[in-house]
């Protein structure tokens, strides 16, 4: 007898419908898979067999053929286990076929019949919902993730026996209640600016960066506190919107790193891959095209500590996402596009020894060494970084001093206000923050007043700034104006923006 079960498969961040067809024929006993199943799918035959037996059902020693349609797409992962087990039960008439009609079944099985969680549940649910499916059977451990999707009936189960009981109407299982997405203020994990003494310039620059979504490069000697500052950035980032939270959750779900207790990403992600990270780990990919660090930091911060230590090839991969906000991963079998719109925060030493320009220590590097060190960062990459500022060592009495600095919550208040202004300005333009302005928008929205124009011209001549600095300064000045609630870019805004273009001035 033939049984058909609806399930879903992952392709990048999207799901596609997979129909599981199970047929039982006479022949040598065993399970045969057709429809481009990968190893994880093929291995499921042992899990299914044991799970069915250990749940108290009968496993017929006959030839079972499982087809995963559409047969042209490669199926991978363990999420079809539950569907296939239910299909076999239907085919062997231990379960009524009609009971399963209209359900999409997702879940992995363990040998004892328990239903285990799967990765990528949220994008699968969303895709299936968009395709018109309304009823789902999912693993119990994925319940929190699923509860954020409204308009569908989701039933979560602990083991196979429970599922069959439910389908037979023997056990009543209520559908999951839709949970409200509660986006808590990004606190806790990283640290608070209140505990960072001194560093006024750096803190102000990070405030501007957070407000306008600008990429930042921090330059400073070892021990100046660059990493500490970076780790506190999440605490001043603007709150996530619901759409952003769902988008980011989808990516984390596909990567399989979503916390099952949370079920959703509430705070902007902060990713800091080590400098030995491979290009693939950063961009995403591998044979199954998983999202990489750049996508995992979507809507959040990607922090690259000791920027020149990353291989050049790795760094150059940042260019497309920094420009377009997406990363395209192409493999022989498939091409996947992952969103990767993040704020890049990088840190580096000013020279190989680390003390170039420091007041209290002598630098031991020759100009040629410094030149070589800096040349690891290509022009196109630096072009995409709006603010660079120096972070210098904190003096003893600053560290030892009493009292706290301004708490992150206050800074975040200003950042949120500035973002609100930007949201209004760019309504309907597909741009959310000043950093993403296009050339035309810069012309429209970043016109300095006469005094500002004059100071800019003067500064260009006296400080010998490079041409690429021009638009960056205007964009940064726009954010500074937004932070100050000013409608137009004024002289003072330009002056402050000029402070954050260190690398454009003659460095060596």
């Amino acid at each position: 007898m033939l049984a058909k079960i609806d399930s879903y498969g992952l392709k990048g961040l999207d799901g596609y419908g997979v129909e599981l067809e199970i047929d039982i024929n006479s022949g040598l006993p065993g399970i045969e898979f057709v429809g481009l199943a990968d190893t994880a799918v093929k291995e499921s035959k042992e899990r299914i067999k044991s799970a069915i037996k250990n749940s108290g059902f009968r496993f017929t020693p006959k030839k079972i053929t499982v087809n995963l349609a559409p047969a042209s797409m490669k199926k991978e992962g363990t999420l079809y286990d539950l569907g296939m087990a239910l299909g076999i039960l239907c085919a062997t008439e231990q379960l009524a076929v009609t009971a399963l009609a209209g359900f999409v079944v997702l879940g992995e099985l363990s040998l004892d019949g328990r239903v285990r969680p799967i990765r990528g549940l949220m994008p699968l649910l969303i895709a299936a919902k968009d395709a018109g499916h309304t009823r789902f059977i999912i693993p119990s451990e994925n319940r929190r993730e699923a509860s954020h999707i409204g308009g569908v009936q989701v039933f979560a189960f602990d083991d196979l026996r429970q599922v069959v009981g439910f389908l037979h109407g023997e056990i009543a299982v209520p559908p999951l209640k839709k949970a409200d997405i509660c986006l808590s203020a990004s606190a806790g994990q990283g640290g608070d600016f209140a505990y960072i003494k001194g560093q006024y310039l750096a803190k102000r620059a990070l405030e501007i960066a957070a407000a306008g979504g600008h990429n930042v490069l921090m330059i400073g000697p070892p021990g100046a506190g660059k990493t500490m500052l970076a780790r506190a950035i999440p605490s001043i980032l603007p709150d996530l919107s619901t759409e952003e939270a769902l988008e980011t959750t989808k990516i984390h779900s596909v990567a399989g790193i979503l916390n099952p207790e949370e079920g959703i990403i509430r705070v902007r992600p902060f990713r800091s891959p080590h400098h030995s990270v491979s290009a693939t780990a950063l961009t995403g990919g591998g044979s199954n095209a998983r999202p990489g660090e750049m996508s995992l930091s979507h809507n959040g911060v990607l922090f690259l500590d000791e920027l020149p230590e990353y291989t050049r090839a790795t760094l150059e991969n940042l260019r497309q996402p920094l420009e377009d906000g997406v990363i395209t991963v192409s493999r022989a079998a498939r091409t996947v596009e992952y969103p990767a719109s993040f704020m890049l925060v990088a840190s580096m030493n000013p020279c190989p020894c680390g003390y170039y320009g420091a007041k209290d220590r002598a630098c031991a590097c020759s100009p040629a060494m410094i030149g070589r060190y800096l040349s690891k960062l290509s022009g196109p990459l630096l072009d995409r970084i709006d603010l660079h500022m120096n972070v210098s060592n904190v003096q003893y009495d600053e560290i030892a001093g009493e009292g706290l600095s301004e708490p992150s919550a206050d800074i975040r208040g200003r950042v949120n206000a500035a973002r609100a202004i930007q949201g209004e300005r760019f309504a309907g333009m597909g741009v959310y923050c000043n950093a993403k302005m296009t050339g035309g928008m810069i012309k429209t929205y970043c016109k300095p007043d006469a005094a500002g124009e004059r100071i800019l011209k003067n500064a260009f001549e006296k400080m010998r700034l490079s041409a690429r600095a021009y638009t960056k300064i205007l964009k940064t000045a726009r954010t500074i104006a937004d932070l100050g609630g000013a409608a137009h870019i004024e002289e003072a805004h330009i002056k402050e923006a000029l402070l954050y273009r260190n690398l454009d001035r003659e460095y060596i």
């Binding site: 020759s366 100009p367 210098s392 100071i455 402050e496 000029l498």
Partner: protein, 365 residues
Amino acid sequence: MTDMTPSKIFFWIGLSGLTHKKQTELLHGYGGPEGLYARFLEEQNALVGIIGDRHYAALKRYRSADYIGQALDKLRKDGIYVMTAANPKYPECLRQAEAAAPYALYYRGNPALLETRCAAVVGTRRCCGYGRQMAEEIAGTLAENGVTVVSGLATGIDGYAHRAALDNSGGTIAVLGSGLNCITPAGHVQLYDRILAGGGLVLSQYKPTDNATRFTFPERNRIVSGLCEAVVIVEAPEGSGALITARFASEQGRDVLVVPGNVTDARFKGSNQLLYEGAVFVRGGADVLEFMRIAPKSRQNSSPPQLDKAQEMIYSLICSGVESFDRLIEAGHLSPAELAAVLLDLELFGVVKKTGAEQYSRSGP
């Protein structure tokens, strides 16, 4: 024949590529430039004996007055002029001090600088931050007080000395170890252009198309020291070219001034050795000026342009030694945005300069 001036004859001899020694031998043996030129053809055998076939043939080829005139025109179109020993403007100090003073010097830029008081600021190519700071301080102070800064356009100390002189709107002379059109190091092409644009002078004893070799740099150092009253060595490890300049300087009767360095640091081994041997100890530009008996211009007489209250306060804080951005915020009770604006104004006024990572210091008006 009639329009062959001694100047043109010196230029002609230089075209042959003969060493200075051979050039001298010819000039002395044949009664000066005119004698040599006049007797050049008839004395072929004797001359070939001295300078060899190849050089003789070259000189013979270039001997026509037309050719020499055209060659000079061509150089002039390229902005290059030739100053020969026959020229009354030829730097007297070089002629007197240096037995091997070249008969022809090629230059671009402002030759009037050769008549000003000159001091050399030289040192290693691989300098450290301290060396850079001292080179800039000394060259800047000298330039500010009207002393022309002479150096070798090399990377490191030389380059910083030139830049500091230009930044303080002073004169600077770069003496190249290569031809004027073969700038070495190639990375200093921009500095070369800046020197010319800033009213400086670039000078070489080599034909414009000559490349630098390991021998040309020491030869060049003779000219550097020969042009100057005093030679300041900023940072020199053992075996540094700056030490060769110092040796020439003492041979030529020039004063050698040395900035002391850490005695345990190999990067100062050569310069400290000079101090041990009796070179003049200098702590900065002011000491060099005093040694040259130049009264330093008072910095107060051109008081900074109209400063408002906040600018005045920050300026006086910087003068009193509060130099980092974060310190200024605390001491001045300004927000980062306000302080940024004040500092930028002060920087644009030219009374404050950024010296390093968010460090500011007073800068001469």
